[in-house]
Symmetry: C2
Subunit: 417 residues, 2 copies
């Protein structure tokens, strides 16, 4: 069997995702598509618009065969760790032959050239980044400057534009991760169509269907608090799931976590804040200094934003602090150690062969949470516990906001279609 992996957030699932899924199957000739998906918290450092099991259902209805959860530690992390976590999972499944991701450039060779350079561990490159960060630039800006200096600008690889596009950056990280983990998975990329990830405006072309970014879709929803205008951007089955759940389990917004975040920030000292992933000492000091002006999650992130710290970086550190995700010096180049289990969120009955084959590799697969403690090492279980905690916090917000009690991770079974 030929299995292709993709990495997603589906927050929420839209027409662009459907196109990606279908094109992936066509491009790579896959019999099965395995989806690695963020759980209840996402990479820009906030909660998912709708819970992970609803999004799993969307993915399966769209044609995905198996949905695996990207641990919250990686799902809310930098592009590098997000990609490493995802690629590690696909690699550990043991039977995935391709990975297909969207990118603005659509040219694999160009992205690969950058990835190869970074993995080559060039001394000047690291030095240039360190200098820029010291000068107060954010890490993404510092990296771009260093790459431009080391690789130069050419018509062949228009680096300047390329490195400003988030899906290219993420693509480079997937390619790096494949190299670092010595993976045999073959990468594919497809050119993203319609508007960009960062575009927040909904394109209203009044066509039968349109492709809009998840960001635009979420923002439109929060503006109008109605699904009506989103209908042309969403597949019918997604529209149906969202219609059924509206005001019952979603929308969940970062602002819903405002008081918990304040409470945690107020409770801890600077020296304790820096124990969390991505929290630098000067960011921790800034947090404690500005805390007197805290009103809510979003405003406080804006209050801390600077040349050095992008809004997304701040949101992510908030999430790590809130969810108790601490620094982990352990950053192995072995994919099995990096993501030491597979957590199944859902699968198609017709695709159970994927898991059957994978099980023969003796890699831990979690379908029932009650078994996890028995089959995982202490270290691996502590990674899983971060997701259990994150889901409890997320579900509590849903319960208090909508009076809907979502089953916890021990009571919820994988979604099976």
């Amino acid at each position: 069997m030929k299995i292709t992996g993709i990495v997603t957030e589906y927050n929420p699932f839209h027409n662009g995702h459907l196109y990606h899924l279908q094109e992936t199957r066509r491009l790579t000739g896959a019999d099965y598509v395995v989806v690695v998906m963020s759980g209840n918290f996402i990479q820009r450092g906030g909660p998912a618009f709708i819970d992970k099991y609803s999004r799993t259902r969307m993915a399966l209805k769209a044609g995905a065969d198996l949905v695996l959860e990207l641990p919250v530690r990686y799902a809310t992390s930098s592009a590098e760790n997000f990609a490493k976590g995802s690629v590690a999972i696909l690699n550990n499944l043991g039977n995935v032959s391709s990975l297909c991701f969207g990118s603005e450039t659509g040219a694999l060779d160009k992205l690969n050239k950058v990835a190869e350079f970074i993995v080559s561990d060039d001394k000047q490159y690291h030095q240039l980044i360190a200098e820029s960060v010291k000068d107060g630039f954010s890490y993404p800006v510092a990296r771009k400057k260093a790459l431009l200096t080391c690789l130069g600008q050419s018509d062949d690889i228009p680096l300047n534009t390329m490195l400003e596009q988030p899906n290219n950056i993420l693509g480079i990280e997937y390619l790096k991760a494949l190299k670092i983990f010595n993976s045999t998975i073959k990468p594919f990329t497809m050119k993203r169509i319609a508007n960009h990830y960062h575009d927040a405006e909904l394109l209203q072309d009044m066509q039968e269907t349109s492709i809009n970014s998840a960001t635009a879709i979420r923002q439109e929803y929060f503006k109008t608090e109605t699904l009506y205008k989103l209908k042309t951007s969403l597949p019918g089955f997604v529209y149906e799931i969202l219609s059924e759940s509206e005001g019952k389990t979603y929308p969940v917004h970062e602002q819903d976590f405002s008081q918990m975040l304040y409470y945690k920030l107020r409770m801890l000292e600077t020296s304790q804040l820096i124990e969390f992933l991505d929290v630098s000492e000067d960011l921790a000091r800034g947090i404690k200094k500005e805390l007197v002006n805290y009103q809510n999650y979003t405003d406080f992130a804006f209050c801390l934003k600077s040349k050095r710290y992008t809004l997304t970086r701040i949101y992510r550190t908030f999430m790590h602090i809130l969810l108790g995700i601490k620094q982990n010096q352990f950053n192995p180049s072995d994919s099995r150690a990096f993501s030491p289990y597979l957590r199944v969120l859902g699968l198609k009955k017709s695709s159970s062969a994927i898991l059957k084959e994978a099980k023969s590799s003796n890699f831990p697969i979690i379908t029932k949470m009650a078994d996890a403690k028995k089959i995982l090492s202490k270290e691996a279980y502590s990674l899983l516990e971060e997701d259990i905690f994150a889901s409890d916090i997320y579900n509590q917000v849903v319960y208090s906001k909508f009076n809907t009690k979502l089953p916890n991770e021990f009571l919820q079974s994988p979604v099976i279609l």
Copy 2:
């Protein structure tokens, strides 16, 4: 000068409080009345209806001369510690000659007889309490049973009724504390009029003025969300302050702390929960076991209620966990060590002589928070820090609920009238 102390919550200030203040002055012949008042959290284990500085303003307008804060550790504690903390403060002021409290019986000698017996440290009494608690009775019930056995029931002291009335119980604790601290302060008690502390129904007698309990007043407000029906229960100046602040700084309700509480309870293990004041091991285990059913602050307290643990006891433990108030083995019989500073919330200009005289005793008086660290021992400052933390949490809830930013403890000066 003749100074009398009283102990209050003023949550909110009502006609009964005004009567108590005026009668105190008359009964004890006081030139000045000093009020020891709970801050932003109160003895039944919830937040105050309206913030402490507004309540201080009410007290001063009503005729109080000086308002001192009861540290949150004591303010949210059992009747015993509530009374000890309050009496310690009055004792430490150095120039207070009387303490006047309301009680259902109105008979000082009867309350004193019980207080004297408890302070005598009777062996059988302690043994009886321990046995009842072991049998699953709550501490208040166990204590009542033990006292009835040891002191017997007589027409002279109708213990059975007396010990069911909360102001009698608190009165006994004031008397105990005066004895324990070897205080020269002379106790007075006055019979409470109108409805009882626990009465939750508003008495609507359509009189010009009426006396209702603070509980009844708060519950009526939460039911109707309007001040109109409370007008006859409140002095005019209180009604004015409440009218000005309505929907700007109050009402604050325990439910507003629901998510913070869940977050803290979910974050900690049983072994960490028992570090907090009043959290027994089986209560901590119960909390962790039932947490899966947590919806909000109030419902979760009901969920944990049992023969052994009264609702108030559970609310208090919630508050101690939320506010980070840990067990403190140190429980000195020296009032200076028990409440090692005086914190001024407000005073009348015409009464500054009280503080001037008190300062001569060299006991730390905090009027400006910025000075506190300099003049207090590390231990004393850590007691004060509990109040700073509690106020920050309270103010954050006000900010997020009403968009009103209350000044923090370093920016707020005492209320001066």
